[in-house]
Amino acid sequence: MLILVVMVLFAGRLVQIQAIDAPTYASAASDVRLSTIDIPTTRGEITDANGNAFAVSVEVRTVFVDPEEVPDSKRAEVTDALTEHFDLDRDVVAGKVAAEPSRYQVIKEEVPPAEWKELEELGLEGVGAQVDYKRVYPEETGAADLVGFVGDDGHGLEGLEAVLDDTLAGEPGTRQVETGITGTRIPMTGGTAKEPVPGKEVRLTLDRDIQWHAQQALAESVEEMDAEGGSVIAMRPTGEVVAMADYPSYSPNEINESTASDRANGAVAEAFEPGSTNKVITAAGALEEGLTTPETVYTVPYSIQRYDETFSDSEYHETERLTLNGIMAKSSNVGTIQVGEQLGAEGLYEYLGKFGFGQPTGLDLPGENEGILTDPDDWWGTQLATVSFGQGLSVNAVQMASVYATIANDGVRVEPSVVAGTVGEDGELSATEEPTRERVLSEETSDELGTMLEAVTGDEGTAQQAQIPGYRVAGKTGTASRVNPETGDYEGGGYTAAFAGFAPADDPELIVQVVLHNPQKEHYGGEAAGPVFSDVMSFGLKTLEIPPSDSEPPDIRLTEDG
């Protein structure tokens, strides 16, 4: 009788557990067993416009040992083989091989698959390898500041790697497996829950060779001029960045040895007072508004008084009668102030804005500094004068390059871009969204400005160093006073030497903008930045196979007398 009672009780309980509450228990049990394993996927490459890699992911193996699987008698053999194969410290390896009851001890990471295959053929018991992916940056692309790098988790930390992480990373797949309490996978359970989606290849507008050359030329120049740093932008008239070099830079393969300022991409992160390169905007505004012509003659003394300040040209000269062409070619501050006053504060501000000052470049790079452009209502008395020749406002190198690209593009400003698009598995490029285009100047004004800028590199201009044999080159020097960060004053702040220009002047194909921060040896834009410009420009023209100019620069009048 008792047995019957107990049996009924037990049977009832069993029915409760195994029939009524079974789903609850079963799901609780499977929750304990189920674990999700990430299946790594390849990160998309970053390449230049021609598909040359700036960053690639390579498949590597993480070689590990399962100490439980190594028979005690074979420990020495396994240890020796591993030590020899990877050239490791024998004691460390021996410790790992003997590390029972551990089931997983990493021997070496980032082992090339071929090297693992050799080891695998030895058939060592308890030694295995996992597939992993490693990000590799081919040495000396000179694009470290732009491209950035990934962290240990394989996600981008700096530069384009960070900005484009979503595109590049892809989605790791997940596999649900049921595991025993020791983590052993239970056979014939689970399966792939989600296939990994490989990351997309990102194609940049850059040209690897020009990038490399620009970086080299910049580095040499910065060293030679004993400057704090600098940047070089090469751009097509339509805003596509062909090279973006920054100095100081770093090697993405040795991130630990770099500092934050090494890693910052100064081409967008550093804003500077543009100086004379800005004069082109003053002239452009005045021309476009019909307030002046290239041949309009201005009386240009050496210095000019505005309110409590005296502005003077960089070198002493007798009062001259210069055309607008002449003012640009000789980079006269006094003359530019007069042109600026013709245009007025509102007008100048409007054109600065149209050329992209005080606005994001649109490149969407980390740490971008969009510079300072204050509203003319807030300008102090002499600020119209200073802004007209490029002091009292700040820009970054890309913004300045974009000004010259606009002039080179017949007055239509195309927002700068660095990403051409993504390349799918079929190898087809799907282009990024068309950048915004806006007409800033008429074609006529652009032509006039081009001619004017060509005179700068002419025999009478300030930048004969920028000449390139066989090509007509247009450009503008810039020598700006820098604010001394300690005093907040220009006193002792040094200079920013810049040169921006394009070639061939008659049919512009490439814009190069060079800026050197606080060069000690030479501080005039022509002397300091000019040679880098002509170096990068001539290399760029050759690399892009742009035919030399077959025409002569037009004769233009720089002075009243011609």
Binding site: L14, Q18, A19, A28, A29, S30, T182
Partner: protein, 449 residues
């Protein structure tokens, strides 16, 4: 084996009590009253349990075996060897005359005490923190397991002797030497911190007192004593149990002493009604420590489902019923006492084990008789089943019935099923045994319709 041929029948007969067929009922009553019914119920249920046990030991131990020895069969082979030793012992015991069984009582008890005593001094703890194991000639045994058998036989003999001498009117005669004997065993077993064996011993003790008709106050007093003891032990155990669990299984949350029983429920729940299939248990992958012994019932429930777990409960029910039937129909005091003590031993142990898994009894760590891995438990239990068979045959009519069946075991079994007449032409010799089985099955099916 003749028994296995007849046992499905045994199981059926129990379950089909609800059948409305009056023919069935009549036949059933006839079977129920048959003198050999106990004999076949015992042999059928226990052989099924042993067979199921072997299969499930293999299934549940293979993961642990392959991790620790590299062979999935290492533990199973041991169990198979134990069954191979146990089977002849079972057959031998079933053929022993009752007086030999009685004569075995004192020597067995002495041997058990000696082995337990040696264990206390020479035993091995095998890292479990409890000295329960003894190595003799390369074989590791757990002396507390055969001690249960020894105590059951000895206790029955002692009380039977006193009963025959009409000495059972006094408390002193009732309790001496039974109580000291039990006490000595319990003490030695407790030295090995084997609380579950202690409880089984006390259960046998109580069962003996019950059968012998101990005076009410005495029985109640002893019962209260045992319950108090058990209560104390469970209290101590739950504390120690938590420690041992976390020791054996560092992956478990040490603060969660319910880890093991919880996974027992998980296993049963995962099995559902039909089970995940033999070999496909997931909980045996380390979630249930020692799935092949204390929690083998959980694995049975997981792999064979509610059907399997109910079958096991049912088989133990049949075995228990048969044991009680032997006791109730016996005239000799020893037969009654021995049948009762062995039945109580097996049934209570099964009850506690299953109760633990399904969480109606606090966790104690006790093997499922005849099923769980462990030769030390299997061999004495199989011998105990043999003793039960011998006792079943001691029923006066059973002897006659057996004698009437002739020498062939199969024929006897068939005769019990009432098939002898129809099948006698085909069942003529041992070589025909295989041929006879499908016939039986078919016949059975036909009958069921």
């Amino acid at each position: 084996m003749s028994g296995s041929a007849s046992t499905p029948r045994g199981g059926d007969s129990r379950r089909s009590r609800t059948s409305r067929s009056s023919v069935w009922l009549r036949e059933l009553r006839q079977l129920h009253d048959h003198p050999l019914t106990s004999y076949y119920l015992v042999i059928g249920s226990s052989c099924l349990l042993i067979a199921l046990g072997l299969v499930m030991v293999l299934s549940s131990s293979m993961i642990d075996s392959i991790t620790s020895t590299g062979s999935a069969f290492s533990l199973f082979q041991k169990q198979l060897a134990a069954a191979a030793v146990g089977l002849p012992l079972l057959v031998l015991a079933s053929h022993l005359p009752v007086w030999t069984l009685r004569a075995l009582g004192y020597p067995a008890m002495a041997l058990a005490l000696a082995l337990l005593l040696i264990t206390v001094f020479q035993g091995e703890d095998y890292g479990y923190g409890a000295v329960r194991w003894l190595e003799i000639g390369g074989v590791t045994i757990q002396p507390s397991e055969p001690a249960k058998l020894a105590f059951a036989l000895w206790g029955a003999d002692v009380l039977a002797r006193k009963d025959e001498l009409k000495q059972l009117m006094e408390w002193r005669q009732l309790l001496v030497p039974l109580l000291p004997g039990c006490g000595a065993l319990v003490l030695l077993v407790l030295m090995g911190t084997d609380l579950s064996t202690t409880m089984v011993l006390l259960t046998i003790f109580l069962a003996l007192l019950w059968v012998v008709g101990a005076p009410g106050p005495l029985f109640v007093g002893m019962f209260a004593l045992v319950v108090t003891l058990a209560g104390i032990m469970v209290a101590v155990e739950s504390f120690r149990g938590a420690r041992i669990t976390s020791f054996l299984n560092p992956g478990a949350d040490p603060s969660d002493a319910g880890f093991q029983p919880l996974h027992g429920l998980y296993a049963l729940g995962t099995g559902g009604v039909f089970g995940v299939g033999i070999g496909d248990s997931k909980e045996k992958w380390g979630f249930l420590p020692h799935p092949e012994s204390d929690f083998i019932f959980a694995i049975i429930g997981e792999e064979l489902g509610l059907i399997g777990s109910l079958l096991v409960v049912g088989l133990f029910g049949v075995l228990g019923y048969a044991g009680l039937r032997i006791a109730s129909r016996a005239r000799e005091p020893f037969v009654r006492l021995a049948a009762m003590s062995i039945t109580a031993w097996i049934a209570v142990q099964a009850m506690v084990n299953i109760g633990t898994v399904i969480k109606v009894v606090p966790v104690t760590g006790i093997p499922l008789p005849l099923v769980s891995a462990g030769g030390s438990a299997l061999v004495p239990t199989m011998f105990g089943v043999g003793v039960l068979l011998a006792l079943a045959k001691a029923e006066p009519d059973a002897r006659k019935a057996l004698a009437a069946r002739g020498p062939n075991l199969v024929q006897r079994a068939l005769g019990w099923l009432g098939l002898r007449g129809t099948d006698s032409s085909t069942v003529t010799g041992p070589q025909e045994r295989n041929g006879s089985r499908p016939t039986q099955v078919r016949t059975r099916r036909n009958r069921r319709r």
